[in-house]
Symmetry: C2
DNA sequence: AGGCGACTAGAAAGAACGTTCTAGCGATCA
DNA sequence: TGATCGCTAGAACGTTCTTTCTAGTCGCCT
């Protein structure tokens, strides 16, 4: 079978978080999805639901971070931005518009109920913004400007994901990506 | 007491949706918050939880839409954009960074589980985009450009709200608002 | 006065939830 | 061989959830 039990749990949890959020993620669904007996879950994650969510968010975050770093290794280009937004469009469409962002969904519905969940989402967002900002700095942007643009792009990315999901259309992602490209061009020009 | 029972239920539900999402919203919490006996809820909303959520989302949406229309009556200005983003910053900070967007939160965590919820969120988003786009058209933008910019602003607004909430800081909202102003200036200039 | 509809009030039911517990299996190591 | 450890396996528990149901209360209309 693919991967250890712990990794399977994390992967299934990540999918459930993306679809139903932290409150909607059930341990029964995790054990079913991971083809694992119910009791095994608490063996791998003694901290229970909260620990699983944090692990899934953190793991998915570092994976996404690596992808983003690779994508922007040669700088933040129009192609990189469209690839980034297009990636989520593909993911959404292929899942029947149900699989949103593994970080964004619990960031909204779980932040008030669990401090560790909020904290791990914050860490992922900060890391993504940082990765983007560093690439922008390499392109000549001042640190503050790079941070601001990176924050805007990540915010637009999460928001466009939300709109695309509720509208069941990639259009908001494509539109927003194009706007981010305009913002990028202006920032690099000055 | 302030308002009828139905309105109180909607208001409490809107707060719970904003904080805990659709899956995290409990009917018990609604009856407590509205100072209403548990059974009364099903008298006012025979359709149960789903109906309450849809009503709260729709009501909050039309209220927000009216506010946005008023704010952009003289066109979409820098001041209007900053007021819009600042409104959410105030709301977040005053609630101890727990009260996010009544539409955005269930849009993510409830869309997969309830089609009516997804649909009502979609309707609100479309209405907000439309309001913004119409104001932009009045300022001379072509319809397609107005739609695109409006979509981007709403997406950025929701995403920045997410970042601000998890980071417990208004900074992402302020930063993103400034970026939207730049985007607006460029669009109006061309 | 009498009846009716709107609303209050909360118990009951049945399912699902997260957590804890005990029992058992199989491999590794003394 | 016997003991130990990692993990499987799922029952049990108490809580919470949504929905439904039955009474009871209040005001209004005829």
């Amino acid at each position: 079978m693919s991967g250890g039990s712990k990794e399977r749990i994390e992967r299934v949890a990540a999918d459930l978080l993306a679809r139903d959020g932290y409150n909607g993620m059930g341990l029964k669904a995790i054990s079913d999805g991971a083809s694992l007996p119910y009791g095994s879950i608490y063996h791998h994650f003694p901290s229970g639901k909260e620990g699983i969510a944090v692990a899934a968010i953190t793991s998915m975050g570092s994976h996404t971070g690596a992808l983003l770093a690779e994508l922007t290794a040669d700088g933040v280009t129009d192609a990189a931005i469209h690839a980034m937004f297009g990636f989520m469009g593909e993911r959404l469409q292929r899942s029947g518009w149900t699989k949103g962002c593994t970080v964004g969904t619990p960031a909204l519905d779980g932040a008030a109920g669990s401090e560790p969940v909020r904290d791990s989402c914050d860490a992922v967002f900060s890391s993504l913004v940082d990765t983007l900002a560093q690439a922008l700095e390499r392109q000549g942007l001042a640190r503050a400007d790079a941070d601001d643009l990176a924050t805007t792009i990540i915010a637009a990315y999460e928001g466009a994901t939300m709109l695309a999901r509720t509208r069941r259309s990639r259009a908001p992602l494509d539109t927003t990506a194009a706007a981010m490209c305009r913002l990028l061009r202006d920032a690099l020009a000055s």
